[in-house]
Every structure is written in C-alpha cells, then in structure tokens.
Symmetry: C2
Subunit: 309 residues, 2 copies
Amino acid sequence: VTARLISVDWGTTSLRCYLVGRGGAILDRRTSDRGILAVGQDGFEATLLNEIRHWRSSAPELPVVMSGMIGSRQGWHEAAYVPCPAGIQDITANLHSIAVQGCGPIWIVPGVDTRSKTGRPDVMRGEETQIFGALTGLGCTDALFVLPGTHAKWATVVDGRIVGFSTYMTGEVFSALKDHTILGRLMATPPSFDASAFERGVTNSEGTQPGDLLNLVFSARTLPLSGQLGDDEVESYLSGLLIGAEIRAAHTRGRRTADTVHVLGGAALTARYIDACKILGISAKPIDGECVVLGHVAIADAIELPDSS
Amino acid sequence: VTARLISVDWGTTSLRCYLVGRGGAILDRRTSDRGILAVGQDGFEATLLNEIRHWRSSAPELPVVMSGMIGSRQGWHEAAYVPCPAGIQDITANLHSIAVQGCGPIWIVPGVDTRSKTGRPDVMRGEETQIFGALTGLGCTDALFVLPGTHAKWATVVDGRIVGFSTYMTGEVFSALKDHTILGRLMATPPSFDASAFERGVTNSEGTQPGDLLNLVFSARTLPLSGQLGDDEVESYLSGLLIGAEIRAAHTRGRRTADTVHVLGGAALTARYIDACKILGISAKPIDGECVVLGHVAIADAIELPDSS
C-alpha cells in the first residue's frame, strides 16, 4: 500500500505519529512521550522530523496533518479556535500551515469553541478531529458523542457540523477528590474495579441542583464509615457517582438531537461509560478504531492534499 | 463571677478550653494545637488536665463538657451518634461520662446522624453543640442553620430538635480544585478576594443537575483563557461558583421550615455566605458569640450539673 500522509496526534504529554496509506490504512506507527510540555518552544520541528525521518527517507514530500495541543498557545503555533457550528470545511478553511525546508505541507488542525446558553465559553482541541474521524467510521452526519477523560467532552453533531459541546472535568475532579480529600483515606490500595459499587454510585448520582454534587460525594465517606460500603468499593463507588452525574447532566442537554450516545475513548473508560449509560437506561455504543487518523484522512480528503505517491 | 464549668471544643487539629461562669460568661480561655491527631490515644487525659490545671487548682470539682472529634472513634472515647430528630434532651441522655481521679464529672457530647431520603447516611460531631448554643442565643426553637467550612453543614431545627441536615464538601472541594487541578494554574498568587468576581461565580452557579457542577467549574479555566476573567479574579470566581451552588441546593432543600438562613462560622467565610445569599435573594443573618460555649452551658443546664461554687 502506498503511503498517503503522516498523521500526528500531539498532545500535552504524548506524541503519536502514524504512516497512513490510501483508504486510511495504518502502515506504521510511532509513540513517544515527547508531548508539548516535554519539548521546548524551539524543539517542535526537530522533534517531528526525528520521529518521522524513516518514513520521509523514501517519501520526503508526504503531507503531515497534526492535531491536539500542538496547535495551542503553548504548542508549535497557535491555530485559532473555529466557532460552532463547525464542519470539516470550516476546519480545512482554518488549517495553519507550517513551511519546513525539504518537507511536504505541514498542517495544524484548529480547535473548536462554543458558548453555553448563559455565555460561558467552552473549548476543544484535538477532540474535533476524533469526532470527524468517528463520523467517517459511522457513515452518518448526526450524532451525540462523549469523549471520556480528564476533561470529558460531550458534542452534538448535526448535518456533519459540531453544533455545540460541553466539557465536564470528571476525570480531573475524580483524581483530586481521591488523592487530595478525606474521601481517599478510606479507599483500599491497590484499587480494583468493583462493578456493583460502581453501579451503586451511578444510581446514587441523582439530584436537582449542581450543588447536590457537593453533598453526594460525602456519601463516599459516610457509607464506608457506617459499614455500608467496603474499603475496596469506595473508589468504584465514587467513580460511579461522578460519571453517573456527568451522564445524567450531559445527556439531558444533548438528547434533543440523538438517542444513542457514541462513546469515544480508551477501552477501560469507554466500558465504564457504556455500563453507566446502561444503568441509566440510555443507549450507548463504543466507537472503535483510530479516530484521530480517520479524522486526518477526512481532513486531507476535504482539502484534496496532493497525492504523494 | 464564680466558675460554673469548663467548656472544651476538641477537634481534629485544635483544642480550645473555656472557663465559663454562671450565665455563660467566658472568664478565661486557652487555645492550643493539641487536636486529636496530635495527641496519641493514651494522651487525652494528660493533655486535658495540663490545659485546665490552673482553673482546677482553685476548683478541682468543676465539671467539664467536651464536644467535637474527641468523641469520635479516633478520639478519647467514641460517643455513638444520636439519630435525628435530636433535641438537647436526646443529647444529654447520651452523654458519655469519663471518670478521672480527683476530677469533677467529664462529659463527651455525642454527634448526631441522619439519613437522606434515598438512604445515604450523614453525620455531624461538634456542630450539634454549636447549633444548640445558637438556638439559646437566638431564643427560638425553629431555624435553618448553615455552618460553612471544609464540610459545610445545613441543619433544620424544628421545636428545638435537629430534624435533618446535609453535609456539603464545599471547602474541601474548593481546596482540591485550587491546589490540585488545572484551575489553580491560572490563579494569581498571593490570592486576594474580589467581590465582583465572587458575585459572578454565584450568579453562574445555576443548573438543573448535580453533574452540571463538573461543567460549571470548567468556566474557571475558559473565562480567564478567553480574557474574560483576570488572573486575580479566578479564585474568588471559583469560590462564588461553589458556595453559590451549595446555597442554591441546600436552601431548596431546607426552606420548607424557615425563611432566614442563620450563618454560623468564622468571620470571613460567614461574610461570603451572607453576600452569596443576598445575591441569590435569600435572607441570611450571621450568628455572633461563642456558640460552642453556649451549647455546653445549655447542655449543663439540661442535665442540671452540680453547682461547683
């Protein structure tokens, strides 16, 4: 298979490069810990060229498509956010191009921003590419996505455009509560996942106000203190509380456009979200495949990058 | 004025002793950092006797009333929780008595526990005494209280009994978010309180689901990132978001029994809660005075402790 482009997912703490063939087949891949925080402002070009040198030796003009925090203010070059509604044409019209001597075109995909109804801004950078890749894989133009993680993103796509999204700090709040509040003190170490404690957390995550969460999380202390939850169940219970609360809130907001939630993330976390949706009676499906790469291929298709073969 | 009792507020990190006269006048006081965590299981008696030795030298039989974490499993002796509804007679009927050679009676006040409508347990230890003291000061038998802090307590009192309460981990969640998530990175140091940023946070704390809080707090990142909030405003804004969310949720739950929220805490935090209530159109009043001492006097009155004069 002939190589068509190099796909680069460059985040805060990791750098993933893929050699991609026609039709999106991954021909080769390289992963390193050279995220943008580990690479100085002057080191991006050298780091990239070093990572992809073997692939370029036979095809120096291969185009490179990059997304993630590499396009942030702390990255190689800031690619300004594209406002919602943002379709793939809006993305390609705002790619940031970098010229490097002896290289084919290098593009940075911009992030996307939006505003809540009450005017609070929200941003994503990297997730837009995964979403466009997932749409390609699904072969549809309307969908509701969740990308679980440190900062989980819920995004609604209508007619192929991201019309709105919301960030939930679920992963980071979970870590902060676990490692830096009294809630962690009753947790068994090493942690192990307990499905029934997780389910109990999801079930208990109900309420009518944002502030209820400040009260709900205290049950991760009072239940074990009163002998109603084992030390080895506390962590899974707290995870269920937070993920359940996130899904209830985000799905209420997003379900106008879709009945099924498409879950796009790592295997373990995706499984938890699928479980939690099931407990809450919400239809959910995992998205398989390397969505970043599919997204870069879709972007390359949209701008009709020169065929380097 | 003749001394009537020794009032002891013995918490996790501090020990406060008061020499109290007839009518509740504070004749003398001593504060130390000998909280229960700093005192080993075998050191409670020696620590107490050392703190109050000057007072006892002239009146060795003075009764001692103690409340706070000294009555927890990690304290001197566990005084089992009294269930709601809990009035002062329920408390005095469950005091734990400790006999120490050559001393007057030493009593530990029990904590109070309750259950949410969905069966989640909640507990307080020490706050019950402050609430009974505040009731004495107010001269009423029905009131809604908030005791702000690391674990804020909202308690409803009807006919002189605590009929229910809820804990909100607002203070501890605020610290964890500030010091251990990305939200702290955009905060100016040293922090300074900004009243208008606090108000903006309170105003923005609205939502319809517990999980909305996981999204709302992200605005403490996106607003400064997009230039809509200064670095020196982020901390006050986040404080307003969390305190506002807590008050909206707790007041919704508590207002069936009272229109006015009585705020019982340290001066700075009490002022923030009064401000936040005002912004939300909720009537709120600070409680002045040493409520712990007033509570111990009320308990002593209820059990008719022997007059040591």
